[in-house]
């Protein structure tokens, strides 16, 4: 389980996170929803120790993030984190060189799934295909937790569908996923848990299925209630 406890973060005088707390379980897809600039990416950066928090605690399976954590948890930011001059093959080789958890078999499976060619240079890829390579490099790691920052933003409808299909496949199954988005439509049916964020605080944290069963409300219904009224 990923536990985020009372996170605060200031950029200069601006307080971006103001005591954010939530949990994300293994085997579930947790979606952090909020408008742009609300601190979604900052939370993910904080979990991965990519930006220091002013206060708060982050635990992954009860332990603070250390170098060993990066074999257990991975982050797929909204831009690809490989050198543009690399080919897809070279990027995969880089991952294999540094990560014990790299699963070459799964990487090749993903290459086929996304219809990507190994010899293609990252800088020559379309936005959709770059997002798929980014996803491939994260998903091919045998990690327990995956963090994804806006995986659907700015890419074409077919690539979106393909990426959404990944969530229902064995490629994600059993892992804990935290995904951020400001457009819920593509993934509403996929998510287990929702964390609604605004002004640096968690407005509501709920289980999507339970909400549907007990109150008959979809995620969008709850969002309307919370944000508009």
């Amino acid at each position: 389980m990923i536990e985020v406890k009372d996170l605060t973060k200031r950029f200069g005088r601006k307080k971006v996170l103001n005591g954010v707390s939530f949990t994300a379980e293994k085997g579930q897809i947790t979606c952090i929803i909020g408008i742009n600039g609300v601190g979604k990416t900052t939370i993910l950066n904080g979990i991965m120790n990519l930006t220091p928090m002013n206060s708060g605690l982050i635990l992954i399976d009860g332990k603070k993030v250390s170098k060993e954590s990066y074999e257990k948890i991975t982050f797929i930011p909204d831009a690809i984190t490989m050198l543009p001059q690399m080919t897809i093959r070279e990027a995969m080789q880089f991952m294999q060189d540094f990560y014990n958890s790299w699963n070459e078999e799964r990487a090749n499976e993903l290459l086929g799934f996304f219809k990507l060619k190994q010899e293609e240079r990252i800088s020559n890829l379309s936005k959709g295909n770059t997002a798929k390579v980014n996803l491939l490099l994260g998903l091919a790691l045998d990690v327990d937790y995956l963090l994804m920052d806006e995986p659907f933003s700015g890419i074409d409808i077919f690539s979106r569908e393909q990426i959404a299909d990944v969530f229902t496949s064995h490629l994600v199954e059993d892992r804990g996923v935290i995904i951020t988005t400001h457009e819920i439509n593509d993934i509403e049916h996929l998510i287990d848990k929702v964390v609604l964020l605004d002004n640096g605080v968690v407005l509501k944290e709920f289980n999507a299925e339970e909400m549907r069963a007990s109150e008959g409300k979809s995620v969008i219904d709850v969002m309307r209630e919370v944000y508009k009224g």
Partner: protein, 277 residues
């Protein structure tokens, strides 16, 4: 430790194309230069001795003998060295900033590697070290080749033959790059790499605290330099000069080690706790 070596290999690979171009420019410029300069000298000699019937002794008195010493003062020789030095100084900064800027922010990947983050820092320092040593080695290989070309073109009675060490000690600049004693080597390269450590730490200050970090980086750098030149400052400002040259050398080595250790400790702290993508 394996990750550290892999990172060094990776970092070297990232600069290799530009590095090979720098080596290429050095080789072409210096080899072409020694040919042009030697032939130029020879044609001057021919003009003076054969066409103008000047006695050879008078020509040598007036123009001097051609030697590698003369050639190493020329732009053909010094130009590429200056270019390489400028490129490496620039790369000391670019080796960090290239990971943050641009479309693909590679720093995310580097910071998420399942290895000590200090390895990323040390791999970059090692890369700069190897690049410098590599260029100096190429220069040491080039010198005897250039000397041979000069001997081939200029007849023995018009040239002064110098050994490699003589060529180096005759040139003010080469002498800094290739010192004639181990102690001098330690001093020159020790100071050089201490400065690289200080620059890298200052960059991490900036990458951690941005605008405020620039100020912190400058203050940190000035403090480090003050620590290193403290005995010198004592002498200049207070006239205190208790140390013999050997004692001064040992003191400076100890101070350099302290400055480098402080840089590594500070960088380790910053890259683990403060740096931000």
């Amino acid at each position: 430790m394996r990750s550290y070596f892999k990172l060094v290999n990776f970092e070297l690979g990232r600069f290799m194309k530009i590095y090979l171009v720098l080596i290429g420019i050095t080789i072409i410029s210096q080899i072409a230069g020694v040919i042009v300069k030697s032939r130029g000298y020879l044609s001057e000699a021919n003009q003076a001795i054969i066409v103008n019937s000047m006695p050879k002794e008078q020509f040598l008195e007036q123009f001097g003998q051609m030697s590698m010493g003369t050639f190493t003062q020329s732009i053909w020789f010094m130009g590429p060295i200056a270019l390489c030095i400028a490129a490496l100084i620039f790369y000391c900064f670019f080796i960090w900033y290239r990971d943050w800027f641009g479309k693909n922010t590679f720093i995310y990947r580097l910071l998420m590697l399942p290895t000590a983050r200090l390895h990323v820092f040390l791999a970059k320092v090692t890369t700069i070290f190897l690049l410098v040593i590599g260029l100096v080695s190429i220069q040491l290989i080039l010198l005897p080749i250039e000397s041979m070309i000069l001997k081939f073109i200029v007849p023995i009675d018009l040239r002064a033959d110098l050994g490699i060490m003589e060529i180096i000690s005759n040139s003010r600049y080469l002498f800094v790059l290739v010192p004639d004693s181990f102690i001098q080597f330690i001093i020159n390269y020790g100071i050089g790499f201490m400065v690289v450590f200080i620059i890298f730490t200052a960059i991490l200050f900036e990458r951690s605290f941005r605008l405020k970090g620039i100020l912190l980086g400058i203050v940190y750098s000035v403090l480090s330099i003050i620590v290193f030149i403290f005995p010198l400052l004592l002498e200049i400002f207070f006239g205190v000069n208790y140390l013999y040259p050997t004692e001064l050398f040992v003191t400076e080595v100890i101070l350099a080690i302290i400055v480098i250790c402080a840089a590594i400790w500070t960088s380790n702290y910053l890259i683990n706790k403060k740096v931000t993508v």
